[in-house]
């Protein structure tokens, strides 16, 4: 630790407390049940693949649990224009 950082060091305990409070609020809501992100991903992809042939290796799923808003981001690479026609 440098001389300067000794005086400006921010405390880690409040960070630990805040991270835990946020995380546990989400985990308790889930109640030890299925992983919501995994369920959503599976069902959303099932709907989309009814219309588009998706390469499952080209699907990126990101989840960000925020204090007020959580976002689930599903990034699907569209194949070359071969839309199925019904």
């Amino acid at each position: 630790m440098s001389f300067l950082s000794f005086f400006t060091r921010s405390r880690s305990a409040p960070v630990a407390r805040d991270r835990l409070q946020l995380l546990l609020a989400h985990e308790r809501a889930l109640g030890g049940g299925a992983d919501l992100a995994a369920v959503l991903q599976k069902e959303i992809l099932a709907v989309i693949s009814r219309h588009i042939a998706i390469d499952h290796d080209k699907v990126v799923v990101k989840l960000d649990r925020g204090e007020r808003v959580s976002t689930l981001e599903i990034d699907i690479e569209m194949p070359e224009p071969t839309f199925a026609r019904h």
Binding site: A13, A16, R17, R19, L20, Q21, E27, R28, G32
Partner: protein, 273 residues
């Protein structure tokens, strides 16, 4: 009316076995008949911490499977007459335990003892769920550290859903035992404070055990700390926690920050240097 108490945590290495031995010894020293049961099948250590490792003949698995009678497997402590140990098997794994068999052993122990202290293995698998299955109350052992607090939260959820009491719509009394607490680091803001952990886990506090070399010394010697060094802060904290379990009202005193001469003179600098 006997009580079945599980000492649990989710995370390993937080002090379940030490706390089981210390609370068991303190309850016995307070005049209760106590058995401490090791549920960590395959990784038994309670026998070592309680100094009975050379006296183990039969174990919990032998009794559950009917290969030995309960009195044959119980090891009576040589120092405290009312304290007994039921060791775990070292050679089997947790699948050797069945719910029905454990239930039968617990029922038999209820006939003989005032307190049945179940030392849970780490994790949330069969060993841990069976250790908590028949509990009337639970001591959740937690370190003021993020992974321990998260795992404790998970275990609290399981106590409220996976125990027999919970399934019958009854409550499992839950108590928080905060271990390895370092008052100096908490005061500096480098470790979560007692209030932080209490606010997050929201269960009543049973006691605070300060980080202390006395605890290691006691397990090195195989003697519960309440017996080996009753004047030490950790032993007193365990003794008070045990008496709170027995219904006494004792105010919880937070461990004091012990500051040496250097840190008194130079404040924080000496601590960091």
């Amino acid at each position: 009316m006997s009580k079945v108490m599980v000492v649990t945590s989710g995370k390993g290495g937080v002090g379940k076995t030490t706390s089981s031995a210390s609370l068991g010894a303190a309850l016995a020293q307070a005049g209760k008949t106590v058995v401490v049961v090791d549920f960590d099948v395959g990784l038994r250590n309670l026998d070592l911490v309680m100094g009975a490792e050379r006296r183990v003949v039969y174990d919990l698995v032998n009794v559950v499977q009917g290969d030995a009678k309960l009195p044959q497997a119980l090891i009576r402590d040589k120092r405290i007459e009312t304290l007994s140990l039921l060791p775990a098997s070292q050679t089997r794994d947790k699948d050797a335990l069945t719910e029905e068999g454990v239930g039968r052993v617990i029922d038999d122990l209820r006939e003989k003892f005032d307190w049945i202290v179940c030392d849970s293995p780490a994790g949330i698998d069969k060993g841990a769920t069976l250790a908590m299955r028949f509990a009337d109350l639970a001591v959740v052992v937690t370190n003021p550290e993020v992974s321990s607090v998260r795992d404790s939260d998970r275990i609290i959820g399981m106590l409220d859903s996976k125990t027999r009491r919970a399934e019958r719509g009854e409550k499992v009394e839950k108590h928080l035992l905060l271990t390895r607490y370092d008052a100096a680091r908490a005061a500096r803001g480098d470790m979560m404070k007692v209030e932080d952990v209490l606010e997050i886990l929201a269960i009543p506090l049973l006691g605070i055990i300060a980080e202390s070399p006395d605890v290691l010394t006691a397990s090195n010697l195989g003697c519960p700390i309440t017996l080996h060094n009753p004047a030490s802060p950790a032993a007193r904290a365990y003794d008070e926690a045990a008496r709170r379990l027995l219904g006494e009202t004792i105010a919880i005193t937070a461990p004091m920050e012990r500051r040496g001469l250097m840190s008194r003179l130079f404040g924080r600098k000496a601590v960091v240097a």
